[in-house]
């Protein structure tokens, strides 16, 4: 049987990808960010996942205003890094896992979550930056990500985004789906985006370290209560783009009900406009 062994949470700031791609990771500004992931890279090598279920948001890349799916699961064999306007990131293509992805879609749709199924899309920094942070720089042609990835895109672009409660319940449905997959797979669920940031208007640059750290505390200790926090609190306290943090609740909901083992915790301000938060939780 497939099993979810761990969850990883991380911001997915595009400038982090640019810093890696342009060889700036040794600059003092960026060294402080990447230092928080040194443990994580070693941990990922040792934990050897077979599949990563990667929750992220598409930043008006695969989905324009023509289609705005609230939850979209990638069931393709592979995904190319997107051109977001600066040219595609020079990173390896992402290999999918169509069989497990289709299995999860079938299971959670029958559990009343109406997913959009995507057989063709490019993936933007929301998906590739977490891979880069956890795996380090990879040669776009000769390098490869460590295992297949199932992209799971959540609408956080057009209001209203799904509630924290809905995201947490969806995570539980994903947990159940993975447990019923008839192959011995080590699956990790990653939740990405956040933490506090605002990219628009005269309030751009908002950071709320106190709120962010409380979010991390509660994500570990009382995720069911954290899931009750309404949208307006995220926006008011953590910035208009801080709303991305609801996606972390999907990954947290996919973990077992027993208290998790906290393997790593990191928080740093800033990366570009954003507070960087990072957690690794293992199922006990």
């Amino acid at each position: 049987m497939a099993r979810i062994t761990a969850s990883v949470y991380t911001s997915h700031v595009p400038a982090i990808g640019a810093a890696l791609d342009q060889g700036k990771s040794d600059e003092p500004y960026w060294r402080k960010v990447f230092a928080g992931y040194e443990f994580s890279r070693q941990w990922l090598k040792e934990s050897r996942p077979d599949v990563i279920f990667l929750v992220y948001n598409d930043h008006a890349t695969a989905f324009s205003l023509d289609f705005i799916p609230t939850f979209a699961i990638g069931t393709a064999a592979g995904y190319a890094p997107a051109d977001e306007g600066w040219g595609p990131r020079p990173v390896p293509k992402v290999t999918g896992h169509p069989e497990l992805a289709s299995h999860i879609a079938q299971s959670v749709i029958q559990d009343d979550f109406d997913l959009t199924i995507v057989n063709r899309m490019d993936v933007d920094h929301g998906l590739t930056v977490p891979l880069s942070l956890m795996c380090g720089a990879q040669d776009p042609v000769h390098g490869a990500w460590p295992c297949p990835v199932i992209p799971f895109a959540v609408n956080v672009v057009q209001y209203p985004v799904p509630s924290g409660r809905r995201c947490f319940a969806l995570g539980r449905a994903i947990r159940k789906a993975v447990a019923s997959y008839d192959a011995d797979l080590n699956v990790q669920v990653w939740g990405t985006g956040g933490m506090s940031h605002q990219l628009q208007g005269p309030r751009a640059g908002l950071i709320n370290a106190e709120w962010d750290n409380r979010f991390l505390d509660r994500l570990i200790a009382e995720p069911d209560k954290l899931a009750e926090v309404p949208h307006i609190e995220y926006v008011r306290e953590a910035g208009s783009e801080g709303i991305e943090l609801v996606m972390w609740l999907i990954a947290r909901g996919a973990m077992s009900d027993a208290p998790p083992r906290v393997r790593h915790r990191f928080y740093h301000v800033p990366a570009s406009n954003t507070a960087v938060g990072h957690l690794i939780l293992e199922n006990a």
């Binding site: 640059g205 950071i207 208009s240």
Partner: protein, 146 residues
Amino acid sequence: MALDKPYLDIPGTTIFDAEQSRKGYWLNQFCMSLMKPENRARFLADPRAVLDEWPMTEAQKQAVLARDLNRCIAEGGNIYFLAKLGATHGKSFQQMAGSMTGMTEEEYRDMMIRGGRSVEGNRHLGEDGSAQPHRQPQGSAARPGF
């Protein structure tokens, strides 16, 4: 019943809801076209001619030509779409975000290094934080826009 919009009293913030999305549909779809290098090159060579191919309002076109992201957002633009416009002009997300504050690039970068903008006074309209309407513009940038 009208849609509930509890987010209208946050200073310096425009939530991209269905109303903004309807208003900005063509502006945002134009920005999507800049994901192709050939379209970026055409736009840079003759911005006005390319904009005139789109059923956008004149106010939207003027906001794009002025590279004024606050005006683009007021006209229905969303930052993730507008990022393609910034990228076409070679700008980073930090340069784009900073351009909406009235700060110079250096002023905005330094604010972020000092820990970012405080939420204090910036939760509700009518307080006295740096994002409030009566505190604009915030820095010494020579003009709005990037």
